[in-house]
Amino acid sequence: MNEAHGSHHSCHGGPAVQAPPGARKIVLVGNPNVGKSLFFNAFTGLYVDVSNFPGTTVSISSGVMGDDVVLDTPGIYGVSSFNDEETVARDIITEADVVLNVVDAVHLERDLFLTQQLLDMGLPTVVALNMVDEAESRGVSVDVAGLSAQLGVPVVPTVAVSREGFDRVREALDSARVGVSDPVLQDRLLSLLDRVGTKAEALLVLEGDPFIAERHGVEPQGLRDEIYMDRRRRVNDMVAKVVSQRDRSLDLRTRLGHALMRPLTGLPALALVLWVMYEIIGVLVAQTIVGFTEGTIMQGYVEPAIRSVVGSVAGGGVAYELLAGEFGVVTLTITYVLGLLLPLVIGFYLLLSLLEDSGYLPRIAALTDRLMTAIGLNGRAIIPIILGFGCITMATITTRILGNERERRIATALMAFAIPCSAQLGVIVALLAAAGGLGITVAYGGIMFVVFGLIGVGLARYLPGASTDLLIDLPPLRLPRPINVATKTYHKTVMFLREVTVYFAAGALILGVLQVTGLLVAAQDALAPLTESWLHLPREAATAFIMGFVRRDFGAAGLYDLGLSGGGILVALVTITLFVPCIASVLVIMKERGRAFMLFTWVGSVVLAFAVGGILANAISWLSAA
């Protein structure tokens, strides 16, 4: 079985974050959705550093509390190398001085498995027993002193959303202890210690982690099943002693959660949520707000100002064209990144954080799982695909959540080929409305759906490997906390802009060079015959496709003025939707999936767009002749 790439350090011991001498590394560890980030934000304040863990796409946050460094890790159910999140968490955890393990009092049976694994690793630990208020309201009571005695480490009850118990957690960090473990297991660890160095890594070797084993030049031991079952037994034993629950009946929230997963109730709910999302991202942000930031502010004030400055310094000619011309590095980058992307990215991450924190995403995954398996994906892939209707560039990044590279490729290709982003969708909807109607809208939607399905089925069949099965934990539905949503949105937005700006500058430079050398016009002329004879569209439609290379909505917008008939509009829209993704997404696809795959989607989408468009055009003219 293929484990996620696990070795981020070429040699052992290159820590993710350097702590100053004498400072303790306090590492926050917990299952997903247990409120870890609330602890992190409260302990470290505003000055937080969010960065990608070396060699991965997983972000980690670090901050300072007094003399100590605090590190947040991705939510995990156990320490090993099943995916990127686990690998990153694993490498930070094994270097921790103190572990602050946040557990959800309602789901102790699940959460204490990770706790017990941390104790088996011999790491000094403090347990924050979070959401004790929610546990109480659900009739779950936990014997805190008993749990502390069983684990052998301090246990502090907390309510993270109102910061209850945080002071006591901070104090308890000084009395973090190595807790109770299984003596037989500890004996086994000791025998490995001289070869592996730390108990934490010795445990991972025993549990068969191939990367840690390779790091120390030892054979991984295949004892995971045995150790896991034994640990599970110890945890169940503990839970039986310290947790009591009065009422096991399904509460309203659980029932609502079920309703969201059942097609009869879940599909209308999903349609409603998608419509609201489209109104916010596709209409409010992509049209109204971007119209103001990109059109009024950037193109109205900022670009002319830059042009006059560049003009007075560099004069005219090639230098001016490259810096501040139509595809000027300075003008285009600033306009796109700040005028266009910034509002979209903020809106996008705001909605994503709301969906994430509410616990709705896993339920959408459950609702759509079976449909997605037909195209070689599982339910989790619905998340990037839905987000793709907002912005393909951003959605491509969220394919990181998928189970393996094969699924990431299928999802990325599907979005690049067949999903129109909100900017393009706005123009498409306007054109469909102008073309007069329901019939043509249904035809367009139907054709795109069929093409989407065929691409998915084709990729699922011919891409090597197998897709993973859905296996997810359903967190309880919760009302998202505004402050948490805002912090998440802020950090993700900053990180996104930091990552893409340089790619934009590079893209603008390439286009600028093409234009200055006259290659852009030459390509326009070269395309024209194809447009006329094959697609049965006017010669000028070629310009729309050339513009489509830059931005999808530019391309669609170029079709406005052509005075097309109903059939012509259908052909043009299908072709432009299937046509290449915008420069920003092409660059992100290259960054995430590699150059070869980027070329595949790019060339593939040109071929596919003209093939499907041409077949459609010829079918329409054949039908109208017959």
Binding site: M1, Y77, G78, S80, F82, V106, H107, E109, R110, F113, L114, R138, V140, G222, L223, R224, D225, E226, Y228, M229, D230, R231, R232, R233, V235, N236, D237, V239, A240, Q245, R248, T254, G257, H258, M261, R262, P263, L264, P362, A365, A366, L367, D369, R370, L371, T373, N378, G379, D469, L470, L471, I472, D473, L474
Partner: protein, 104 residues
């Protein structure tokens, strides 16, 4: 029978989870071989929803097809929370022996 065939809202005991990765992940969630789960239900046109105490997990159909379960003769009454795991531990020992014999 398989998990996919389990009757709606009846407790079932998990007998075998053949996928190594899925088995480990399920144990982390609190469900191991030998665990008596509160209920398993195949959602209409969807995956299988398994409830175990306050925990809910969703498994894709293909995975659920490979997981073997049995209906618990005693129903949900009078079960001992530790007992299931003890059964599981016996199974794990068996599996551990198998793994070692394969020389893994």
């Amino acid at each position: 029978m398989t998990l996919l065939q389990a009757k709606k809202n009846r407790p079932v005991r998990i007998i075998e989870i053949p996928d190594e990765r899925a088995r480990a992940q399920c144990v982390r969630f609190g469900i191991g071989e030998g665990t008596l789960v509160d209920s398993a239900e195949t959602l209409m046109a969807g995956p299988v929803l398994v409830r175990h105490r306050n925990q809910e997990i969703c498994l894709g159909r293909k995975l659920a097809c490979r997981i073997l379960v049995e209906e618990d003769p005693r129903g949900s009454q009078g079960r001992d929370p530790v007992e299931g795991a003890a059964d599981g531990a016996r199974l794990a020992r068996r599996r551990g022996w198998r793994l070692r014999r394969r020389g893994v």
